[in-house]
Symmetry: C3
Subunit: 273 residues, 3 copies
């Protein structure tokens, strides 16, 4: 069934507006193309409303936010809400600076997000609503492990209920939940953490999955997570001894490009709690 979500992306070629950081933006664009979507990037306040209007989804990533792009995020987000578009928040570095934390919290106050996707530290920061500067590891519970899984599942469901958004926490074990239901996903490889931007790439791709699966948001988000993780596994299998993280980046995007419904359905490792 997750394979259908991917197939829907390939069939509908959703146009996704990205306000994202300049570090990983090229990979985000290529991942969107790899999964069957179509990317547009624009962060200029005077430009974003027009651009988001012609898209089906908006991906807001605060990885290299600045005063101008922050304005763009609010304008684009409100316009996207008005038009009923899918909107995703990737709160990169929330907790690492006051500006990032406050911007993410304010975005959540003023914009209705379809999905909020981050690592456990970022999501914990948002759940606490803290506006003070924290180190990247401050106020962060242990990573999601088999031992802490029950409480993590309860946490993510509760934050999803509070925000009305699907919440995706990615890490060694990925959690994708609404208030009632949580996908616990065990795809991926630890080496993915040695590539910059796999999280950003997932956020871009996930937005395309949301647009293409409007009646199955939770499942669409989970399918995107499984696609990324499985591509990480397939890409790793294609590595040669002399390859490293730069080639691995290409191998993962390549694996998404070549992913089909059957491969995803067969390779997806998840349970629903």
């Amino acid at each position: 069934m997750l394979g259908d979500c991917l197939e829907n992306v390939r069939k509908s070629v959703p146009l996704v507006h990205n306000i994202t950081n300049y570090v990983t933006v090229n990979d985000v664009a290529n991942v969107l193309l790899a999964c069957g979507g179509s990317p547009i990037m624009s962060d200029e306040p005077e430009d974003v409303e027009d651009i988001t209007s012609i898209c089906g989804g908006l991906n807001i990533n605060i990885g290299t936010l600045n005063q101008s792009s922050i304005k763009g995020m609010f304008l684009a987000g409100k316009k996207a809400n008005e038009l009923g578009h899918k909107v995703l928040l990737d709160p990169v570095g929330a907790g690492a600076s006051a500006l990032r934390t406050n911007t993410a919290v304010k975005l959540m106050d003023e914009i209705k997000f379809t999905v909020i996707r981050g690592n456990i530290s970022e999501i914990k920061t948002l759940a606490l609503g803290s506006g003070t500067t924290k180190g990247v590891d401050a106020d962060v519970a242990d990573a999601v492990t088999e031992e802490t899984l029950d409480s993590a599942v309860a946490f993510v469901k509760s934050f999803a209920k509070e925000t009305g958004a699907v919440v995706a926490i990615t890490g060694a074990i990925d959690l994708v939940a609404d208030a009632e239901k949580c996908y616990v996903i065990r795809n991926g490889r630890p080496e993915m953490g040695k590539i910059t931007g796999t999280g950003c790439q997932l956020s871009g791709m996930m937005t395309a999955f949301l647009v293409a699966n409007p009646d199955n948001i939770l499942e669409g988000a989970a399918a995107a997570v499984c696609t990324m993780g499985l591509a990480g596994e397939i890409g790793w299998n294609n590595m040669k001894p002399e390859d490293g993280n730069s080639t691995y980046r290409n191998r993962i995007i390549d694996a998404i490009f070549n992913m089909d419904k059957e491969t995803l359905d067969k390779g997806a490792k998840y349970e629903v709690r």
Copy 2:
């Protein structure tokens, strides 16, 4: 003869100033190096006049324009005109937002472009001079096909005459024309559309070809288009079953790096109308 244009780039190592989007800028730089040119990027208004002064050509791409970089485009463009440098416009997303359309139109009003290069939608938007927001597919005639080729050739020649620039429309069939003469080019692969920024890369590389072939602008522009398309073919032939769009991106740039005069002359597929 197109091969000589490439050879002239390799011999003269033209320095190209790029005001281009942050999505594909790294690939633009590497393509410029691959073809034998040398890239510099700068968009800060206070910096661009100095930078463009030491270059031979200027590549203006509005893909992620903002208020500051727009100012930079006008300042750099005027300075480059003053100095008699080659100047190329890549009106990315003209037609998709009012800001993009209006900026491109105003740039054409105030700056003399050597070449305007875009897809058929963007060029049609500019030819109509429309300042109202359009969807990316609005006001766009059908793609250039064998059936619509005659009228497309007439259109591109007429727009070239009106603007005084060489006009390059790239797509399945590429057209590169001045008022009198149109290169109809059939190099390339459809899979190139699954990589972000092949158009941006071409614009950067083409600017180097213009600088290196000052007395043969039309032919230089056509040679750049053939080089890109042929690299797309060669790159594709080097693909393995597990490769996808990310590796394809590398393969194309690699093929440009390895391209020589003979390969280009033998592989270029064009007619002149």
Copy 3:
């Protein structure tokens, strides 16, 4: 002994704050991950002090400076100085525009740099303190060669003494010096110049080496230069006939990812003068 410097990076995983250009930023991030560090990018003035506070080192690269990021550089640099962090300056294009030259000079006036790393042209510009616009090749002595080596070594030691920073001049022969001692390094390949941003990558990686080797700054900087150059050699050996500069970029980062203490100690080619 240089291998220990690399090992210290892998053991301590230093967090490096980068204010760097948008052309090569993705490669800088992946190189930092490849060598064992961890990258964060932020240039917004309101964000940089918080971000730099949680890091151990700051890499300032003026490659695509703008009014906002320049403010960010000064704020971050001063905060990093306050906190005793390692701070590196990469004066990209100093000499090519008044803004670049003046910004680099002013940064050197107001911020204490641990290392200044650039090509011979950039460093000569800084050593002269000139604030007038120069072409990229103006006021530049011949490249460092075996013939000019003695005077180049004297120059770099003298500039290191004047600034109190370790100075790294990279090129065909690399020099890394403090006032007393100069590493003359002969790793690397000329083809590295056909990839955009190997210098930027080195600056990012070197900052991680400085953080991880606080009591051995000179040696840490030299180890980073040898790592980059040796990776260029190993990466080149892994090239196939159809490969070009884009694949070479990946091969070099891959080689850094796979580099270990023994490989570096065995492959490093240097003498101390």
